[in-house]
Symmetry: D2
Subunit: 268 residues, 4 copies
């Protein structure tokens, strides 16, 4: 291989140009990437949850609850295409065809679930289990999500000995609020969410005059305490402020067959 | 009996005087009475709670919890005299001698219980049952209370088909916050409180610059959502603002033998 | 006039009945006295306000404000009888006949003022001066009040070297929130209130699911910071929870001729 | 100058290494671009502020305020290098050498200002004017910033008929909270900020258990109402959660000579 000799100064100039070009690209760029909004610390402490309110079959909802799934059918839901919140408002792919097996509803690739009824302030109870057979890692393992009023995602993920960015952990408001603890159960075990949600407030100009607030117990352990939700869940970029009224509960399909049961909701 | 005849006018005058005297007494008086701070409406709706997280024995606390009572002994507690918060700070009547029977701790007339440890922000779980044999009514039936940081009472009461003033119901922050629902179980059945508490903030002048906030599930049903506690629990008159640091959990004895079990607390 | 003769026994029975009825009423919520809800400490520190935003004539409102009084007339107001919030909803005594002298509106005994327009969330600016000639003391000196949404009173009082119960001071939410400071100007000097108000939220059962919140600057000094208003202003007894929508601004006449100017409000 | 000869291959290798290093950095949390976190709607309405509390010279602070600048000198400040919050903690470039001209303090390129004293909860008043001669546009025009506790930026910008992303407008908490209005005065006119700030709360794990909250009046018009600040101001990417105690006030130099006067702060 023939060597071509250049001056160090020329090389330095080239180097400088190359780096400055990169820098310029950053300044000009609008290449929003998912990683821009991942946070890696502080890491919430691992807590082994107690047996309270978990792994219990045969439980019943409060008398004033709307039952969204009681183990029998998907009558309270319609299917929507994909797992992109931006498109969910516009799609309705008809009846939800997620399988119900032994009283458990499983998310299936390609369709997410939207409740037929819409809600404002509410208390929501939902139980889930991620696949017992562990596949993938990080966000690729037991991923689903519960979208409050169709816009704000409470993350569902198998985070048992499976680290990821802390604003994307189970118990997080996805890319907005880090959970206070990681009380994940093992893959395949039933876990429970108890969620208290207050809808945001908007003025005539479409500006948010008060946040949505959410308090969440995961397996009986507090993970969010009156967390302020400032806008829509976005995979890339910042939460958006979009005025809205009542909204549905959405359950995301993220390509992992997550099981759900005992889903009920109370208007507050 | 001899009848004395008087004119109707004289009788009316006497009546007017009597009533006006009463009225004057009201205007002059400084007789603070308990009734001054009772509220009777709006009445929270009755909700039959589900079986979730209730009436379950053998449950265990999360791994990071401080266990205050595990069914065995009262080592985590001392006795204090009476049920008056004003005096509790000053008294320590030694070991708590409430009986532990079949894993249940019973409040006994004349002494209340104070935890040895003190807390700031916390999550508290506690289960209770009011006497199966119903005696008394209103505030006289199954009355106890859980004092957060030794000052702010979350009411314990048998409110099953037993109305009382709504700011004194089970699930109320006593005389400060009406519960959102009445999910009482029947007398003698186990009930559960899941409590999320954030301590108040005080400035150098002793003024409260942020409230204590509390969120409470009673039998899995939301009864307080980020309720603002503005001062001490007072039987008569308004809440007082008194700057303080960490404080204990107190369980009131109100003369009714209320049973407790499975008490644990997590620092937040 | 014909006299009707009755027996003394009958009169006594009537008297007894009348008194016992009164007594029963008292047990159900009375012997309520104003003093029951007065708090005397901690005492907010005295602060001498700066000249910022005070004693300045010729100021103008923001362009999007509704001007409620610009120094000329009372067209934006109606009169209401008395100073009792409980009766204000029901009365409309016609045009407000408070005198406007040299661009100043003076409260006059026997009528309070209600804005014709109603508001939800808002920013309110109002300037006031208490009588230069000091008469009375405590609550009897320069007393007026601004009722937010017609229900929640921000106290107006001459508190310059004039102590009173701290939950009734100028800058207090009357009997609900103690001010953080006492930046009173001298009697006869213009003072300013800058008020940010968020309306409460109620559910279908009539229960308050979120407080009204208020932040207040008095003479440019913070006296309330996101204070939670839990119910109606009551002279005797506890705040009441009453669901409502938009409401007016009321200015109380309390028998002292307090002057007002430069009143404007912005919908938020 | 002596030329040193290197091989092209060596130069290429160096170039490749340089670029790949940049690329690796991007994969570890980058391709993060500033634009990722810019929001462009909803646009806050333009409001022409009133003359209240503005363009007034000779005003004085409240008696309990710490005066940070009274028109005379920079004794309350030190210089810090650059305008990058990440580096500010570590730098102290000695006395602040910003010029004081006719009682006005001007930001100068290359150094920002840090108050010597540190604060927790506070009320801050500050007046500013952007250059009368308009140069640049968007974020390049009259840009400065006030960093609360040294971490959370309240944006200063000439937004008079100068649109930019709404979460970077004057009155915004930079890239976290859109202002409710745009009450900008013209370039060269004095504007005022009245800021009420409550510090965040952290637990032992370093997690934020309550937000910082801020309420802001710009030229007497509300632009932030109890806005929740969830983490540090970041030019690129998401706010970070970093536990801290008391912190200084920082005034950013962003290359535009912005004038400041009448800066005072009160501990709450």
């Amino acid at each position: 291989m023939k060597k071509t000799s250049v001056t160090l100064a020329a090389c330095a100039a080239l180097l400088t140009f190359a780096l400055s070009t990169t820098s310029m690209a950053q300044n000009q760029g609008s290449k929003q990437t998912p990683e821009s909004t991942e946070i890696y610390e502080p890491v919430p402490p691992v807590v082994t949850p107690g047996t309270v309110s978990a792994n219990t079959s045969g439980t019943t909802p409060p008398s004033d609850a709307t039952v969204l799934f009681d183990g029998k059918n998907t009558d309270q839901w319609v299917a929507i295409t994909g797992y992109d919140p931006a498109s969910w408002e516009k799609t309705n792919a008809g009846p939800l065809k997620w399988p119900v097996t032994d009283g458990v509803l499983y998310s299936t690739k390609g369709f997410s679930a939207r409740s037929k009824k819409e809600f404002n302030d509410f208390q929501l109870h939902i139980e889930f289990k991620t696949p017992e057979k562990v596949e993938g890692k990080g966000q690729g393992r037991g991923n689903s999500g519960i979208f409050l009023q169709g816009r704000y995602e409470l993350q569902v993920l198998d985070n048992y000995e499976n680290p990821t960015y802390v604003d994307g952990m189970v118990g997080s408001i996805y890319k907005q609020a880090i959970p206070l603890a990681n009380p994940s159960r093992k893959p395949g075990e039933w876990q429970s969410y108890d969620i208290v949600y207050q809808a945001p407030r908007f003025n005539k100009a479409g500006l948010m005059t008060d946040y949505a607030y959410v308090t969440v117990l995961l397996n009986g352990v507090l993970v969010q305490n009156h967390a302020a939700i400032r806008g829509t869940t976005e995979y890339i970029g910042y939460p958006k402020v979009q005025a809205h009224g009542a909204g549905p509960i959405l359950i995301q399909d993220h390509g992992n067959p997550v099981g759900f049961r005992n889903i009920w909701i109370r208007d507050l």
